[in-house]
């Protein structure tokens, strides 16, 4: 039932955000229309970080309590986290093309997202290697914890590294009026989409777990 509400709310908010971005908010002076990607690029980035933070928290909870439910949440949150990060990279590249004429710039923010993406791709690949459930949840949590701790340090060290492209992607946050409003609405829209997905994916994980149990029971019964 809650997924229905979240679906509706998410849909409405997304539409409102789109209307705001395309029609209401004035085009930014220096970068022109392309700057409008900003209003989705930043929310997606923040939501990605938030979803990996949730994974971090519930990974610790799983290690402490060994309750599979916590790992379901951690995994579901990481799953949409990876999708958000992929969206950051894609939109980042699309934004870079017109401005710098290249698809990829080693801009500090983009590169940090890319490394974060690599960490969590490894999170899922290693999880897929482990067939035994309990161990998969436990090792997944270990990676979820250490992976998340690496994100800030990676961001800082990339910022400092002289080789990367100095120009900041987004102008400083001198936002005002409708620009700020649009940003906040789209952040909230993304937030709702995040919860919508985690609710759904959590059920999927729980059902998959139950299916595995039922199959085991069937096997035992038939022996």
């Amino acid at each position: 039932m809650r997924t229905k509400i979240a679906l509706a709310l998410g849909g409405v908010l997304m539409v409102v955000a789109l209307v705001m971005v395309f029609i209401v908010v004035p085009t930014e002076a220096t970068m022109g229309n392309i700057q409008r990607i900003f209003y989705f690029h930043v929310p997606v980035a923040w939501n990605a970080f938030f979803s990996f933070g949730v994974t971090f928290g519930f990974s610790i909870a799983y290690l402490k309590t060994r309750n599979p439910k916590y790992d379901f949440i951690a995994e579901s949150s990481a799953r949409i986290g990876i999708v958000f990060t992929t969206l950051i990279l894609l939109t980042g590249m699309i934004w870079a093309k017109p401005i710098w004429g290249v698809w990829w710039t080693w801009d500090a923010r983009l590169t940090s997202s890319f490394v974060m993406w690599l960490v969590y791709i490894a999170y899922f690949i290693v999880r897929s290697f482990i067939t035994e459930e309990e161990r998969r949840y436990r090792f997944g949590s270990i990676i979820g914890i250490l992976g998340f701790l690496s994100v800030p340090i990676v961001a800082i060290s990339i910022q400092l590294a002289p080789t990367t492209h100095p120009k900041a992607m987004i102008f400083n946050d001198g936002l005002h009026g409708t620009m700020l409003a649009t940003l906040l609405i789209s952040i909230f829209a993304m937030f709702v989409v995040y919860f919508l997905f985690v609710f759904l994916q959590y059920d999927n994980c729980k059902d998959a777990y139950e299916i595995a149990q039922l199959k085991k029971k069937l096997l035992k019964e038939s022996e």
Binding site: R66, P68, E132, E133, E134, R135, R136, Y137, Y209, A212, Q213, K216
Partner: protein, 236 residues
Amino acid sequence: MSHVIECQKISKRFGGNQVLKDFDLTVDAGESVAILGPNGTGKSTLIRILASVMRQSEGKVLINGSEMKDEAFALRSQIGLLSHTGYLYTSLSAEENLKFYAEMYSLKDPEKRIAELLEKVGLRTRRFDRVATFSRGMSQRLGLARALLHSPKILLLDEPETGLDQEGLDLLWSIIKTDDPDRTVVFTSHNFKSTVQACSRLIILKKGKIVYDAPKGDLTEDGLQALYHDVTGGKS
């Protein structure tokens, strides 16, 4: 005086499947408890939980009255563990293995204890040979020496007979008996002959539950075989 070993409502889940469910057990000093049962009923899991190598999902394990969780260090120096493998590094020599574990158990005078144990398990001549060159019987006896290194009050054995012939197994049991006759021993096994000789109390498990628990009395090997089959429905 509290029991040497006490399990209160021990449960263990691996992901989905429940290996042990509300398992209770008390063992007193000097007892030699045999735990039999078909494969997969949680015998090895129980031994590992008692040795604190594995954590129980629920329930309490009390060794000499104190809980493993709080007193892990003190209790582990009371417990010796021997499994199918002897926990030995095959590319190290017998002496190097025992020296390493002596340091891990922070023994006061390791030299004397190692010499004494190697003598006892009949491996004095093979002291400097690599464990890789040992026969199955010899490495199992060395594993026993490792388990007895810190002269533990409790000895846990998990199917020690794996890979041993009957003669090797009898030798193993005679060493255990002579080393410290009133040490508490808890062991799992599939070998009825040595079980009957070695145990003072018999427990049979089925699907993680105790279905038989009584002193050995005058049970013979065949008696045990018959008892085992009708209690567990024939699967050994």
